[in-house]
């Protein structure tokens, strides 16, 4: 039996009815990760459109491994954040560890990102990698990105310690989006 997957439709401009701001804080004191140890980090950035204008109505979702690189442990590595009027998003989480991949290889630490919004008939999928990470050099997915666009998925450490990655939906410096 084969049933084609249901068609995607846009989340539209009113998806905030399912926005729960505490979901952007994966280390929320009342959440499942409060007692889990690891390097506490913030991930932040803006989402802009083809005119460079901020996208103020985007649902940003993240999914990541725990600090040991596992998806099976107690850490709940999911977050959702609404961009604000300036197109900004911000998550607080633990830095993921290297995720095991085929053979004995490891993927560099990374965070999966999905974007849903008005004007997106289906989600845009990308990843955030951490600049300066040793394993970046041998990460198969990072290396599949043409060198001149690789920077669009590499978060840089900001002066306040947060990891910053701006997402550009279209045009100059357009983020590399994946078909998975």
């Amino acid at each position: 039996m084969s049933l084609p997957a249901t068609a995607s439709q846009t989340a539209g401009p009113y998806w905030h009815l399912i926005d729960f701001p505490e979901w952007a804080d994966l280390l929320h004191p009342n959440g499942p990760n409060a007692a889990i140890e690891g390097e506490r980090i913030a991930i932040e950035g803006t989402v802009t459109d083809g005119d460079g204008a901020p996208c103020a109505d985007v649902m940003v979702e993240i999914w990541q491994a725990d600090p040991a690189g596992s998806y099976e442990g107690a850490f709940h590595g999911f977050g959702r954040c609404a961009t604000d009027k300036a197109g900004r998003f911000r998550f607080v989480t633990l830095k993921p560890g290297p995720v095991r991949t085929e053979g004995n290889a490891f993927q560099a630490p990374h965070v999966a990102i999905s974007l849903f919004a008005r004007g997106l008939l289906k989600q845009l999928v990308t990843r955030l990698y951490f600049a300066g990470e040793k394993l970046n050099e041998q990460d198969a997915i990072l290396n599949a990105i043409p060198a001149e666009r690789r920077g669009t998925v590499l978060a840089q450490r900001a002066s306040d310690g947060a990891w910053r990655l701006d997402l550009r939906l279209q045009g100059e410096g357009e983020t590399v989006f994946f078909e998975v």
């Binding site: 990374h110 999966a112 004007g119 939906l169 989006f177 998975v180």
Partner: protein
């Protein structure tokens, strides 16, 4: 294991000129096809202990929303027809007058203080989900002259792999606005569009209480690699 790619024509494009908001928001570079890793094939374990359920959007202690009460039930399946047990289903919608409980919705239709328009349920072991709400109203939008969205309920689903993540909309049968709606019609395949339309179901209908609609959702299935196709 990995999830299969969509059947041709069954998913909308990013760039859809008839839907104006896509104009500045679609990537102009082709997507980069990447292999699915654990990151894509694993998923957050969404569960009622972490995410409180709301089975009834229409009524709560001391309040009841205005509108035609309906119950929606269906199954969350994968492309092989297997249930996706525990799938989390989030829904949100306009009220009976076609107005969202949202500060940016400026449509001149009354708000209902008793209708928030948001709910969350989980599929059971056989993939069944069910909730009660009110039938939402149609509402105008500014995509083009005299544009109206057909009656719909938004759905957000989490399956067993993050690659199965889906946001979609459920429409209602017989709605004359469907033929005119750019968002609905961005799905090229007519049968795929038709599957976004719930059907009236007397078995879901609750006597003396609520009309019933059936809406099944299919998430991406596992990629089958039949032995006979291997070199």
């Amino acid at each position: 294991m990995s999830y299969r790619q969509p059947a041709p024509g069954t998913q909308p494009p990013y760039d859809a000129p008839e839907y104006g908001s896509t104009h500045k928001r679609h990537p102009k570079q082709p997507l980069l096809r990447i292999p699915q890793t654990l990151t894509e094939t694993s998923a957050p374990r969404m569960r009622p202990a972490l995410y409180e359920t709301t089975h009834n959007l229409a009524k709560g202690p001391g309040w009841e929303a205005q509108g035609e009460r309906i119950t929606v039930a269906g199954r969350v399946l994968d492309e092989d027809g297997r249930p996706v047990p525990g799938a989390m289903v989030e829904v949100w919608q306009a009220n009976a007058a076609g107005r969202y409980n949202h500060e940016r919705d400026q449509h001149d239709a009354p708000l209902d203080p008793n209708f928030k328009g948001e709910g969350r349920v989980f599929a059971d072991a056989e993939g069944w989900y069910r909730y009660t709400t009110i039938r939402p109203g149609a509402y105008p939008w500014r995509n083009h002259h005299n544009a109206w969205r057909p009656v719909h309920i938004h759905y957000s689903l989490f399956g067993a792999g993050f690659a199965q993540r889906l946001i979609t909309q459920m429409y209602f049968p017989g709605d004359p606005l469907l033929a005119l709606d750019p968002i609905f019609n961005c799905v090229p395949d007519a049968a795929a569009r038709e599957r976004l339309v719930a059907r009236f179901d007397l078995d879901v209908t609750e006597p003396e209480h609520a009309l019933g609609y059936r809406f099944d959702i299919v998430l991406r299935g596992r990629d089958a690699t039949p032995m006979e196709n291997r070199a």
